[in-house]
């Protein structure tokens, strides 16, 4: 028997291990940016399950992010539910909302599907905006408590860390677990069926796939993970606002996915990183951030239509091909 070297480098494990050191060597600012990137990366990856895998364009994915954020924050602050319970609750609530809204959305196709997702998201936004007693309305739902993380200080290397830094580790673990699960789903037989729906729904239907039902399943799973991302973000942000569910938020996450590359599982994460860092950099120079972002996007989309990670992947593939030839 011959022992074979692993064919691919375990990038995920390496990235995870490196990320562990961010709060140790980085400043508070870096830790906060890294937390932001992780959460938005999870949010974008959940959208890509629809966009890149199933071929469904949602203009209203922020709705599920917002629902997760409000449910988790309200559960923890108003009802003093522990984080370990509030987090899955947020995911389930977002998934349930996705089930109800998605039931109607998957009955439509293409642009009509996209418009209906947007309509539902605006409804969610309006409810968050107006329901003062529960959501805090326009003022938002403030002073969301951090989970109780004191127990983490017994872990080696984590004593004397601030709660914000400990929360980075919580985020890192939750996001990595979610990404792992989503990757399994993407590479599963179920995921393969989703790609056939993206490629050719008519043919998928005539290999015996109930296309609508599978689209709905993908919609619910994507909504659930968006809800988990929202829950993490509300705590990180120390407050939840109606804007979480606004169409601009849906557009932002769509941009992250396309920018990073929807053909790659980690494309959306790269997109989230790029957008967060650009946002930081450009806003420190000019107030015209949206303008600069718009121009930059046009350039990037023309130069790298497969997205940043997609372009890199294509490049690596062609280099390998040349070496093997």
């Amino acid at each position: 028997m011959t022992t074979r070297l692993p064919r691919t480098i375990p990038w995920m494990t390496i990235a995870f291990a490196l990320a562990l050191f961010i709060p140790i060597f980085g400043t508070r600012f870096y830790t906060s940016v890294a937390t932001d990137v992780l959460i938005l990366g999870l949010f974008a990856t959940s959208l890509n399950l629809l966009l890149g895998t199933t071929g469904l364009v949602s203009f209203g994915h922020a709705a599920y992010f917002a629902i997760g954020a409000y449910v988790c924050a309200i559960a923890m602050k108003t009802f003093e539910v522990p984080f370990l319970l509030a987090l899955p609750l947020a995911g389930l609530a977002a998934g349930a909302a996705a089930l109800v809204f998605g039931y109607f959305c998957v009955r439509l196709t293409k642009i009509y599907f996209a418009m209906l997702t947007l309509a539902f998201a605006q409804i969610v936004w309006a409810i968050c905006f107006k329901w003062n007693d529960v959501t805090g309305g326009e003022q938002g739902f403030n002073n969301v408590p951090y989970p109780d993380l004191a127990w983490m200080e017994v872990l080696p290397g984590l004593s004397r860390m601030r709660v914000g830094e400990l929360y980075f580790y919580v985020t890192l673990v939750v996001v990595c677990l979610c990404l792992y699960v989503m990757r399994r789903i993407t590479n599963s037989p179920f995921g393969r069926i989703l790609t056939t729906i993206r490629e050719n729904p008519e043919r998928a239907e005539f290999v015996g796939i109930d296309v609508r039902r599978f689209e709905l399943a993908a919609f619910v799973i994507a909504g659930l993970f968006a809800g988990l991302a929202g829950a993490l973000f509300g705590i990180f942000n120390r407050g939840v606002f109606p804007d979480f569910g606004y169409w601009a938020k849906s557009a932002e996450v769509l941009i992250m996915v396309i920018l990073g590359g929807m053909g790659q599982f980690f494309g959306p994460l790269v997109g989230a990183f790029t957008l967060v860092v650009l946002n930081q950099q450009i806003t420190s120079y000019t107030e015209y951030w949206p303008l600069v972002l718009g121009l930059l996007l046009i350039v990037l989309l023309y130069a790298f239509p497969a997205g940043l990670l997609g372009t890199i992947a294509d490049l690596v593939k062609s280099l390998r091909g040349r070496r093997n030839a």
Binding site: P189, I193, T196, N200, V207
Partner: protein
């Protein structure tokens, strides 16, 4: 096996199919022929649930499937290919056929296993029988048109259908590919007692393998019978065969 009675369909007043009745017995190879625009593809779409008939019924093994959803009809044991090769263009040849197996073997609700490892042997075996073995890792959409038609046949066969509807299965194939495909179909039909209903413009193919031929003209069946009967029919000679074999 398949019982069609009184099917009628019009598009904005244009009658594409009118009063079409046809029955296909188990194990029979039946062909529907007719000039362009005769309504052959429309008839197939009516049978497979892609369009709903205005009037008439379709029964599969005694069960009324009129107006049922395509995926439900497929699950009852009907396979089909489309006139224009209809595959999953960005998936590899292997993945195209494997996806059909996943759907057929009810593995589609498995969210956790690695799809890479499932039904490998079956998929490769099916590809080999289609002559697509060497192209397993090629992207489906980059195949030649004839190969794409073969691949679509593979997708349909992966569902182990009891009855297979093929809309011009050899269109765009080279004469070698056509011969191979016809040979394969005949072999599978006899091995599995597969019922076959197909349309074809290549009369050599039709007369070589069909047990029964229905001639469609302007949405109506003008003749149906054994190949020699149809060939001798004066009406058929006038509207269709005559013009081709002149």
């Amino acid at each position: 096996m398949l019982e069609i009675s009184g099917l009628r369909k019009s598009f904005d007043g244009f009658v594409a199919t009118s009063d079409v009745s046809l029955s296909v017995a188990r194990g029979e190879i039946a062909a529907v022929i007719g000039p362009n625009g005769a309504g052959k593809s429309t008839l197939f779409n009516l049978i497979t649930g892609h369009i709903r008939p205005d009037v008439g019924t379709v029964h599969l093994e005694g069960r009324d499937i009129t107006g049922a959803a395509p995926h439900a009809i497929c699950r009852m044991g009907m396979g089909r290919s489309f006139q224009r090769a209809n595959i999953f263009p960005k998936l590899s040849v292997f993945e195209n056929v494997q996806a059909a197996l996943i759907a057929h073997r009810r593995a589609a609700t498995d969210l956790w296993s690695a799809s890479r490892d499932i039904f490998r042997a079956e998929t490769h075996q099916l590809l080999a029988s289609l002559g697509l073995g060497p192209q397993a890792e090629v992207t489906g959409g980059t195949l030649s048109y004839g190969n794409q038609k073969q691949l679509e046949l593979g997708i349909a066969l992966a569902g182990e259908p009891k009855i297979l509807l093929l809309d011009e299965p050899t269109a765009g194939m080279s004469s070698v590919e056509t011969a191979e495909t016809i040979g394969l179909l005949q072999r599978i039909a006899s091995e599995r007692e597969l019922t076959l209903l197909f349309t074809e413009h290549d009369m050599d193919v039709v007369f070589a393998i069909a047990h029964k031929i229905a001639v469609l003209h302007q949405g109506r069946i003008i003749a149906v019978g054994r190949p020699d009967e149809v060939r001798a029919d004066p009406e058929v000679r006038r509207v269709y065969l005559g013009e081709q074999h002149a």
